[in-house]
C-alpha cells in the first residue's frame, strides 16, 4: 500500500509498505543537478554530491561513514541532469537511523574545504579514463551535441569546471538548491507509513527554503552526422532522435515501438544485426522521456570493417517498422514491458525509485493497473501513428572509431 503526505515545508513523503521483504530502500530527489552548474564551474554539482558524505553535524568524514556502515546502510549521493539524489538500502529495522543520518547530510553537511582537492583529483582521473571506455564516451559525446545546453552536460563534468570549483561554488549550490519545497522522500520496504511520517517530520520537518528556478529545456540542435576518429578495436555508432514526452497520451506507443526495435533478444535490431548477420555483440534502442522531452537512442558497437553494414541494417530496420508490425510482435513487446514492471514490484529499491520518479514527473503515483491498461491500449494503429509523428528521420548520428561512415543523404538532417 502506498501512502503520501506533504510536510509543511513542502517535502513530499511517499511510503510503500511491503510485508514480504526484510529490507527497506529510500530515495530522495531534490531539483537541481548538472543543469544548475555555472558554465565556468560545470561539474561542481558532482563535487557537491560527493562532499555530502564527507561529514555532517558534528561527525567528520570517517565518523559519518562509520555511522552508515555500522547500521549496514548502503548509500549513495548522486547527480542527475536535473536533480540531486540520495539513495540507500538497508535491513528495515535500521530505517529510523537511516532517516536520521540522511537528514543530517541534507540539513547540516560540513562540505569540508580541505576535501575538495582530493575529490577534484579523482574526478579529473575519471574524465581521463573515459577515453578507455569508448562505448560510454560515444554516448557522452552525442549527448553534448544533441541536447540543448545545459541539458547536454556530461555526467562526469568538465575538467576546467571541476578545477575551477571552490568551496563558495559549493555552498552557493547548497543554499540555492538544497531546499525541501519540491523535494521528494520515497521509502519502500518492511516499514509502517505512520512511523515513517513521524520520523520524517522529526528529522526533516525543520528543513526550510524555497526552490530557485531551474533552466528550461530549449530546442534540440539541427541533426547532423558527427564522425570522431580514434584508434580502437571496435567502432561505436550512436544515434538519437526526438520522441514523445512522458506525460503525453502516446507515451506507451513510443515505448512499445522502440521496444519492437530495440529490446534485447527479440527486438528487430537484435535479430537482424546480431542474430542473422553476426555483426555485433551489443545492439539496442531505448526510449527515454521526461515531461520536457523524449528521445529514442540506438547503439551498436562493431569492428570497423563491418560498421557500414551495421549502420545500414539499423537504418533499414527503423525505416521499415511502420506498417510491418505483426500482432504477435506487438503482443510480445507488451508482455515484456509488463513483465519487467511486475517483477520490479518485489524489490524495495525499484519501488522506492519508481514511486519517486512518478511523483517527480507527474505529481502522483500511477497504480500498476493504470500502467498495464495504458500498455494494453497500444495497438498496431497507434504504433503506426507514433512512427508517423516521430519517424526517426532525421536523426543525429555519432561514430567513434578508426574511420567515418557513409550516412545516406537526408538521414542526419
Amino acid at each position: 500500500m502506498i501512502t503520501t503526505t506533504r510536510l509543511s515545508n513542502g517535502l513530499t513523503v511517499i511510503v510503500e509498505e511491503m510485508d514480504h521483504v526484510e529490507s527497506a530502500s529510500y530515495d530522495v530527489l531534490i531539483p537541481g543537478g548538472l543543469i544548475v552548474d555555472d558554465v565556468a564551474t560545470t561539474g561542481a554539482s558532482l563535487i557537491f554530491a560527493d562532499l555530502l558524505g564527507r561529514g555532517a553535524g558534528d561527525m567528520d568524514s570517517r565518523q559519518l561513514s562509520a555511522a552508515f556502515d555500522s547500521a549496514g546502510i548502503r548509500h549513495g549521493e548522486g547527480v542527475g541532469m536535473d536533480r540531486f539524489s540520495l539513495s540507500g538500502s538497508l535491513v528495515a529495522d535500521k530505517l529510523r537511523r537511516a532517516i536520521e543520518l540522511l537528514a543530517l547530510m541534507i540539513r547540516e553537511p560540513s562540505l569540508p574545504d580541505d576535501e575538495i582537492p582530493s575529490i577534484q583529483s579523482v574526478m579529473l582521473q575519471d574524465i581521463a579514463a573515459l577515453n578507455d571506455n569508448p562505448a560510454r564516451k560515444s554516448m557522452v559525446e552525442l549527448t553534448k551535441r544533441y541536447y540543448p545546453a545545459p541539458f547536454n552536460r556530461s555526467s562526469l563534468g568538465e575538467a576546467e569546471g571541476i578545477s575551477a570549483t571552490t568551496r563558495t561554488t559549493i555552498t552557493d549550490l547548497y543554499r540555492r538548491y538544497f531546499v525541501p519545497q519540491r523535494a521528494i522522500l520515497s521509502i519502500a520496504g518492511k516499514v509502517r507509513a505512520s512511523e515513517v511520517f513521524d520520523w520524517a517530520e522529526q528529522y526533516l520537518g525543520g528543513w526550510m527554503g524555497s526552490s530557485a528556478e531551474l533552466p528550461r529545456f530549449g530546442t534540440i540542435a539541427p541533426h547532423r552526422y558527427y564522425p570522431l576518429e580514434v584508434d580502437s578495436a571496435q567502432l561505436q555508432i550512436v544515434m538519437a532522435a526526438p520522441s514523445v514526452k512522458f506525460d503525453e497520451p502516446a507515451y506507451y506507443d513510443g515505448k512499445v515501438a522502440v521496444s519492437l526495435l530495440g529490446a534485447s533478444m527479440f527486438g528487430r535490431l537484435f535479430v537482424e544485426v546480431r542474430e542473422k548477420r553476426g555483426l555485433c555483440y551489443s545492439v539496442y534502442a531505448r526510449h527515454g522521456a521526461t515531461t520536457s522531452y523524449g528521445t529514442i537512442t540506438a547503439y551498436v558497437g562493431t569492428t570497423p570493417e563491418r560498421a557500414q553494414e551495421s549502420l545500414d541494417v539499423m537504418l533499414r530496420e527503423f525505416d521499415g517498422l511502420r506498417g510491418s508490425v505483426t500482432n504477435e510482435e506487438l503482443a510480445r513487446a507488451k508482455t515484456n514491458i509488463k513483465a519487467t514492471l511486475v517483477m520490479g514490484e518485489e524489490s524495495p529499491g525499484s519501488r522506492a525509485s519508481s514511486n519517486a520518479g512518478d511523483w517527480w514527473l507527474l505529481g502522483r503515483i500511477r497504480p500498476l493497473s493504470e500502467i498495464a491498461a495504458a500498455i494494453d491500449a497500444v495497438s498496431l494503429a497507434s504504433v503506426d501513428a507514433f512512427i508517423e509523428r516521430y519517424p526517426f528521420r532525421p536523426c543525429s548520428i555519432l561514430t567513434l572509431g578508426r574511420h567515418a561512415l557513409e550516412v545516406p543523404a537526408g538521414v542526419a538532417g
Binding site: 529490507s23 549496514g72 582521473q125 571496435q234 558497437g301 517483477m343 518485489e346
Partner: protein
C-alpha cells in the same frame, strides 16, 4: 529467511534444488553447470563461453528465433554467463509461466549446434572479444591471471583469443559438450513463487532421459608466485595495477574470515584502501577481494590512477596489504554489518537467492540457510582472521601493471 531448501536427485544424477517463497511476486530458475574455462584443454580455449551462446541458437525442435521469441512471449528476464568454473543459464519469470520457462530452458541446454548458426555466432563472439580489447581494465585482469596461474587451469581465459575462437570447430564444441554436460555435473535450481512438487515432476519428465556419465575436474592447489610484470598499450589514458597472492578456496573454512578481511581492507567505502587512496584523491579505484575458486583461490587488490601516480598508489596499497591485522574491533564489526546487510538484501529477491543456492551447490555440495550464513559471518573474530593468515600469510605478491606505451 525462514524458507526451507528442498533437494531431490534424479536417477541420472541431476540435482534439483528449490526454495519456495509464496510471498514473492516472481520466481527464478536456472541450470548451474560445473564447467568453464578451467575445464578447457588445448585448442578448446573459449569453447565454454561460445557454447553458452549456442544454447540460445537452436535445439532439435526450436530455431534460434523460436527461442528468442518464446523468451519474449513469456516475459522472461533470461540470460546466461560463463566464468572460469561455472556456466549458468537463468531466468526471472512470473509464476504463471514458470512451467513453460522450465521446459524452454531444459530444451535449450540440449542444443542442436547447427553448423550455420555456429559460423554466425562465431562472428558475434569475435565482436565480443573486440569489445573487451577496448576495455584496458579487463585486458589487464585477463593477462594477469593467465600469467599468475601459468600452467594451472584457473588462469584460462573465459573469452579465449581471436585466434583460438576463430579456429574452433563445431566438432570440438560437441566433444566438449559431451564431456562436460552430464546431468551429474549440473544442478537445476528454482527460488521464489513456484510449486516444488510440479518443478520436480517436470524435471523428472524433461531431464530424466538424459544420459549420465562421469565428469571430473582436477583441482590442484596452487602456491602462487611473486613476480612483477608491466604490460603496455597505446592510446591508454589511465594506469592500472593488480596485486595477487595465494588465498582461500571456496571449500575452505577460512572463507568467512578472508571475506571480512577483504571488506575491512578494500570495500568500496569505509575501507583502508578507500581512506588511504580514494579519499585522498590518489586513485580513482581501489579494491581488495578474496577470490575463492574450486580447490584454490587468491587474494587480490586492484588500483587505478594516473600513470604518474601509479608508483605511489601501488606503494600505499602494498603497505596496507603488508599489515592485514591493522584493524580495530569496530572496523571488523562494521564490515560484518555491511556483509550481513548485503546477504539479506540479495537473499530476499528470487534471482539473488537462486545464484547463491546454485553456486554454493557447485562448490560445496551443500545448501546453507541464509540465517546460518549470517550467524557464521557474525561469529568471526580477530583470532579467526589471525588463523586464516597463518595459512594464507598474504606475503608473496605478484604485481601486474598496465601503463601507456
Amino acid at each position: 529467511m525462514k524458507s526451507q531448501v528442498h533437494k531431490h536427485t534424479l536417477a541420472n544424477g541431476l540435482t534439483i534444488l528449490g526454495e519456495v517463497n509464496p510471498s514473492n511476486v516472481s520466481a527464478a530458475i536456472g541450470f548451474f553447470v560445473k564447467t568453464g574455462a578451467r575445464d578447457e584443454v588445448g585448442v578448446e580455449s573459449g569453447v565454454s563461453h561460445f557454447l553458452e551462446h549456442m544454447m540460445f541458437k537452436g535445439t532439435p525442435t526450436r530455431s534460434a528465433i523460436d527461442i528468442n521469441f518464446q523468451l519474449g512471449n513469456l516475459g522472461a528476464q533470461a540470460n546466461a554467463f560463463t566464468s572460469e568454473e561455472n556456466t549458468v543459464y537463468y531466468a526471472g519469470i512470473i509464476p504463471e509461466h514458470f512451467s513453460a520457462m522450465q521446459e524452454l530452458l531444459t530444451d535449450m541446454i540440449r542444443p542442436a549446434l547447427d553448423p550455420e548458426e555456429f559460423a554466425m555466432e562465431k562472428k558475434v563472439i569475435l565482436e565480443e572479444i573486440a569489445l573487451y580489447q577496448d576495455r584496458p581494465h579487463f585486458f589487464l585482469f585477463e593477462r594477469a591471471f593467465k600469467d599468475y596461474f601459468g600452467e594451472h587451469p584457473a588462469g584460462n581465459s573465459v573469452l579465449g583469443s581471436h585466434d583460438s575462437v576463430s579456429a574452433l570447430t563445431r566438432e570440438q564444441m560437441k566433444a566438449y559438450f559431451d564431456r562436460r554436460y552430464s546431468p551429474s555435473n549440473m544442478v537445476l535450481a528454482a527460488t521464489g513463487n513456484f510449486s516444488w512438487e510440479g518443478f520436480v515432476a517436470d524435471a523428472e519428465k524433461m531431464c530424466g532421459g538424459w544420459e549420465r556419465y562421469s565428469v571430473g575436474r582436477d583441482t590442484p592447489p596452487y602456491s602462487g608466485k611473486a613476480v612483477e610484470h608491466e604490460f603496455t598499450r597505446k592510446n591508454l589514458s589511465h594506469a592500472h595495477a593488480i596485486l595477487i597472492a595465494p588465498g582461500g578456496a571456496a571449500q575452505d573454512e577460512e572463507r568467512y574470515a578472508l571475506s571480512l578481511l577483504s571488506t575491512v581492507m578494500g570495500d568500496s567505502s569505509g575501507s583502508r584502501m578507500y581512506w588511504d587512496l580514494i579519499h585522498k584523491g590518489l586513485a580513482d579505484s581501489a579494491s581488495v577481494d578474496s577470490d575463492e575458486r574450486d580447490g584454490t583461490g587468491c587474494f587480490l587488490a586492484y588500483v587505478s590512477s594516473t600513470p604518474e601516480q601509479l608508483d605511489e598508489v601501488v606503494k600505499i596499497a602494498r603497505g596496507i596489504l603488508a599489515t592485514p591485522l591493522d584493524f580495530t574491533e569496530d572496523d571488523l564489526e562494521r564490515a560484518k554489518s555491511k556483509i550481513v546487510s548485503r546477504i539479506v538484501l540479495d537473499g530476499e529477491l528470487p534471482m539473488g537467492r537462486l545464484m547463491a543456492l546454485g553456486l554454493e551447490w557447485n562448490y560445496r555440495r551443500e545448501t546453507t540457510p541464509l540465517s546460518e550464513v549470517i550467524r557464521r559471518v557474525r561469529a568471526v573474530g580477530r583470532p579467526d582472521i589471525e588463523r586464516a593468515l597463518i595459512r594464507f600469510p598474504l606475503s608473496d605478491w605478484a604485481e601486474y601493471r598496465l601503463m601507456p606505451e
